[in-house]
Protein backbone atom coordinates (compact mmCIF):
# COMPACT_ATOMS: atom_id res chain seq x y z
CA UNK A 1 0.00 0.00 0.00
CA UNK A 2 2.51 2.55 -1.20
CA UNK A 3 1.25 6.06 -0.50
CA UNK A 4 4.11 8.36 -1.62
CA UNK A 5 5.96 7.41 -4.76
CA UNK A 6 9.13 8.97 -6.13
CA UNK A 7 9.72 8.45 -9.82
CA UNK A 8 13.30 7.19 -9.59
CA UNK A 9 15.26 5.24 -7.01
CA UNK A 10 18.65 6.11 -8.51
CA UNK A 11 19.70 8.84 -10.93
CA UNK A 12 23.04 9.77 -12.42
CA UNK A 13 23.26 13.14 -14.13
CA UNK A 14 26.00 15.32 -15.55
CA UNK A 15 27.03 18.70 -14.21
CA UNK A 16 24.93 21.43 -15.78
CA UNK A 17 21.99 19.21 -16.69
CA UNK A 18 18.46 20.18 -15.73
CA UNK A 19 17.08 17.47 -13.44
CA UNK A 20 13.48 16.70 -12.53
CA UNK A 21 12.55 14.66 -9.47
CA UNK A 22 8.90 13.68 -9.33
CA UNK A 23 6.76 12.76 -6.36
CA UNK A 24 3.14 11.57 -6.28
CA UNK A 25 0.90 10.93 -3.26
CA UNK A 26 -2.49 9.26 -3.20
CA UNK A 27 -3.76 10.46 0.18
CA UNK A 28 -5.25 13.81 -0.91
CA UNK A 29 -2.77 15.62 1.35
CA UNK A 30 -2.51 19.38 1.12
CA UNK A 31 1.14 19.54 2.18
CA UNK A 32 4.10 18.15 0.30
CA UNK A 33 7.78 18.46 1.11
CA UNK A 34 11.17 17.96 -0.48
CA UNK A 35 14.12 17.21 1.79
CA UNK A 36 17.68 16.22 1.17
CA UNK A 37 19.27 13.72 3.50
CA UNK A 38 23.02 13.86 4.07
CA UNK A 39 25.09 12.02 6.70
CA UNK A 40 25.59 14.18 9.75
CA UNK A 41 23.25 16.88 8.46
CA UNK A 42 19.94 15.06 8.86
CA UNK A 43 16.92 16.04 6.80
CA UNK A 44 17.09 19.57 5.47
CA UNK A 45 13.98 21.12 4.00
CA UNK A 46 14.43 22.39 0.47
CA UNK A 47 10.88 23.45 -0.39
CA UNK A 48 7.43 22.99 1.00
CA UNK A 49 4.05 23.31 -0.72
CA UNK A 50 0.84 23.77 1.27
CA UNK A 51 -1.54 23.89 -1.70
CA UNK A 52 -1.62 23.70 -5.47
CA UNK A 53 0.66 26.36 -6.97
CA UNK A 54 1.68 27.48 -3.46
CA UNK A 55 5.20 27.04 -2.19
CA UNK A 56 7.48 28.17 0.57
CA UNK A 57 11.26 28.08 0.71
CA UNK A 58 12.87 25.80 3.21
CA UNK A 59 16.33 26.06 4.69
CA UNK A 60 18.33 25.29 1.54
CA UNK A 61 16.41 26.39 -1.58
CA UNK A 62 19.39 27.69 -3.52
CA UNK A 63 19.87 25.87 -6.82
CA UNK A 64 16.40 24.29 -6.65
CA UNK A 65 12.90 25.15 -7.76
CA UNK A 66 9.59 23.32 -7.41
CA UNK A 67 6.32 22.89 -9.22
CA UNK A 68 2.91 21.87 -7.88
CA UNK A 69 0.33 22.03 -10.66
CA UNK A 70 -1.82 19.22 -9.26
CA UNK A 71 -2.54 18.36 -5.66
CA UNK A 72 -1.07 14.89 -5.87
CA UNK A 73 2.20 15.79 -7.61
CA UNK A 74 5.18 17.80 -6.40
CA UNK A 75 8.25 18.18 -8.58
CA UNK A 76 11.73 19.22 -7.56
CA UNK A 77 13.84 20.82 -10.28
CA UNK A 78 17.59 21.28 -10.27
CA UNK A 79 18.05 24.04 -12.82
CA UNK A 80 21.72 23.28 -13.44
CA UNK A 81 22.95 20.27 -11.52
CA UNK A 82 26.19 20.57 -9.61
CA UNK A 83 28.30 17.97 -7.80
CA UNK A 84 27.36 19.41 -4.40
CA UNK A 85 23.78 18.41 -5.13
CA UNK A 86 24.72 14.76 -5.01
CA UNK A 87 22.50 13.47 -2.22
CA UNK A 88 19.48 11.41 -1.18
CA UNK A 89 16.26 13.30 -1.86
CA UNK A 90 13.13 12.50 0.12
CA UNK A 91 9.58 13.56 -0.67
CA UNK A 92 6.87 13.59 2.01
CA UNK A 93 3.26 14.62 2.45
CA UNK A 94 0.84 15.26 5.30
CA UNK A 95 -2.50 16.87 6.04
CA UNK A 96 -2.78 20.55 6.67
CA UNK A 97 -4.67 21.75 9.70
CA UNK A 98 -4.14 18.74 11.90
CA UNK A 99 -0.94 19.72 13.67
CA UNK A 100 -0.26 16.18 14.75
CA UNK A 101 -0.60 14.88 11.23
CA UNK A 102 1.69 12.01 10.35
CA UNK A 103 3.99 12.62 7.41
CA UNK A 104 4.43 9.83 4.87
CA UNK A 105 7.68 9.51 2.99
CA UNK A 106 8.71 8.25 -0.38
CA UNK A 107 11.42 5.65 -0.82
CA UNK A 108 13.98 8.31 -1.73
CA UNK A 109 15.92 9.17 -4.87
CA UNK A 110 19.68 8.86 -4.71
CA UNK A 111 21.02 11.45 -7.12
CA UNK A 112 24.63 11.42 -8.24
CA UNK A 113 25.92 14.39 -10.24
CA UNK A 114 29.14 13.68 -12.11
Amino acid sequence: DVKVTQSSRYLVKRTGEKVFLECVQDMDHENMFWYRQDPGLGLRLIYFSYDVKMKEKGDIPEGYSVSREKKERFSLILESASTNQTSMYLCASNSRGDRASEAFFGQGTRLTVV
Partner: protein, 109 residues
Amino acid sequence: AQRVTQPEKLLSVFKGAPVELKCNYSYSGSPELFWYVQYSRQRLQLLLRHISRESIKGFTADLNKGETSFHLKKPFAQEEDSAMYYCALDGGATNKLIFGTGTLLAVQP
Protein backbone atom coordinates in the same frame (compact mmCIF):
# COMPACT_ATOMS: atom_id res chain seq x y z
CA ALA B 1 13.50 30.60 14.66
CA GLN B 2 12.26 27.03 14.58
CA ARG B 3 15.02 24.56 15.26
CA VAL B 4 15.47 20.97 16.39
CA THR B 5 18.74 19.85 17.95
CA GLN B 6 19.88 16.28 18.38
CA PRO B 7 23.31 16.46 20.02
CA GLU B 8 24.36 12.84 19.47
CA LYS B 9 25.24 11.56 16.01
CA LEU B 10 25.73 8.02 17.30
CA LEU B 11 24.54 6.19 20.37
CA SER B 12 25.86 2.69 20.95
CA VAL B 13 24.40 0.51 23.70
CA PHE B 14 24.27 -3.16 24.59
CA LYS B 15 21.12 -5.22 24.31
CA GLY B 16 19.03 -4.84 27.47
CA ALA B 17 20.53 -1.48 28.41
CA PRO B 18 18.38 1.66 28.75
CA VAL B 19 18.29 4.09 25.86
CA GLU B 20 17.76 7.84 25.81
CA LEU B 21 17.95 9.78 22.56
CA LYS B 22 18.07 13.51 23.19
CA CYS B 23 16.06 16.15 21.38
CA ASN B 24 15.80 19.86 22.13
CA TYR B 25 13.72 22.34 20.22
CA SER B 26 13.36 26.05 19.71
CA TYR B 27 9.90 27.36 18.97
CA SER B 28 8.03 30.38 20.22
CA GLY B 29 4.54 28.91 20.19
CA SER B 30 3.06 25.62 21.31
CA PRO B 31 4.93 22.91 19.41
CA GLU B 32 3.87 19.55 18.13
CA LEU B 33 6.76 17.10 18.31
CA PHE B 34 7.43 13.76 16.71
CA TRP B 35 9.97 10.99 16.54
CA TYR B 36 10.56 9.37 13.16
CA VAL B 37 12.61 6.24 12.56
CA GLN B 38 14.41 4.86 9.53
CA TYR B 39 15.39 1.20 9.64
CA SER B 40 18.01 -0.07 7.22
CA ARG B 41 16.74 0.01 3.62
CA GLN B 42 13.28 1.17 4.69
CA ARG B 43 11.38 4.41 4.39
CA LEU B 44 11.34 7.00 7.08
CA GLN B 45 8.26 6.41 9.21
CA LEU B 46 6.52 7.86 12.23
CA LEU B 47 7.44 6.28 15.55
CA LEU B 48 5.43 8.41 17.92
CA ARG B 49 4.00 11.88 18.45
CA HIS B 50 3.83 13.71 21.74
CA ILE B 51 0.12 14.43 21.52
CA SER B 52 -0.69 10.72 21.58
CA ARG B 53 1.15 10.06 24.84
CA GLU B 54 1.53 6.43 23.84
CA SER B 55 4.29 3.85 23.96
CA ILE B 56 5.34 2.42 20.61
CA LYS B 57 7.68 -0.59 20.48
CA GLY B 58 8.51 0.17 24.11
CA PHE B 59 9.58 3.75 23.35
CA THR B 60 8.14 6.77 25.13
CA ALA B 61 8.82 10.49 24.89
CA ASP B 62 7.68 13.28 27.18
CA LEU B 63 7.46 16.89 26.18
CA ASN B 64 9.18 19.11 28.72
CA LYS B 65 8.32 22.69 27.88
CA GLY B 66 10.50 24.10 30.62
CA GLU B 67 13.59 22.43 29.23
CA THR B 68 12.29 22.56 25.63
CA SER B 69 13.08 18.88 25.29
CA PHE B 70 11.43 15.78 23.86
CA HIS B 71 13.81 12.94 24.66
CA LEU B 72 13.06 9.42 23.43
CA LYS B 73 13.45 6.63 25.98
CA LYS B 74 13.30 2.88 26.17
CA PRO B 75 14.13 0.91 29.32
CA PHE B 76 15.60 -2.17 27.60
CA ALA B 77 17.10 -1.87 24.12
CA GLN B 78 16.67 -4.64 21.56
CA GLU B 79 18.88 -5.35 18.55
CA GLU B 80 15.96 -4.60 16.23
CA ASP B 81 15.88 -1.04 17.59
CA SER B 82 19.06 -0.28 15.67
CA ALA B 83 18.10 2.51 13.25
CA MET B 84 18.37 6.21 12.55
CA TYR B 85 16.07 8.29 14.72
CA TYR B 86 14.92 11.81 13.87
CA CYS B 87 13.16 14.28 16.09
CA ALA B 88 10.77 16.63 14.24
CA LEU B 89 8.83 19.79 14.99
CA ASP B 90 5.58 20.89 13.44
CA GLY B 91 5.25 24.58 13.92
CA GLY B 92 2.97 27.16 12.36
CA ALA B 93 -0.32 27.27 10.55
CA THR B 94 0.98 25.52 7.46
CA ASN B 95 2.31 22.46 9.33
CA LYS B 96 5.85 22.79 8.02
CA LEU B 97 7.94 19.91 9.38
CA ILE B 98 11.44 20.65 10.63
CA PHE B 99 13.80 17.78 11.42
CA GLY B 100 16.89 17.42 13.53
CA THR B 101 20.17 15.96 12.32
CA GLY B 102 19.32 12.48 13.52
CA THR B 103 20.89 9.97 15.90
CA LEU B 104 22.06 6.56 14.80
CA LEU B 105 21.23 4.02 17.49
CA ALA B 106 23.35 0.89 17.41
CA VAL B 107 22.32 -1.90 19.76
CA GLN B 108 25.10 -4.42 20.26
CA PRO B 109 24.33 -8.08 21.11
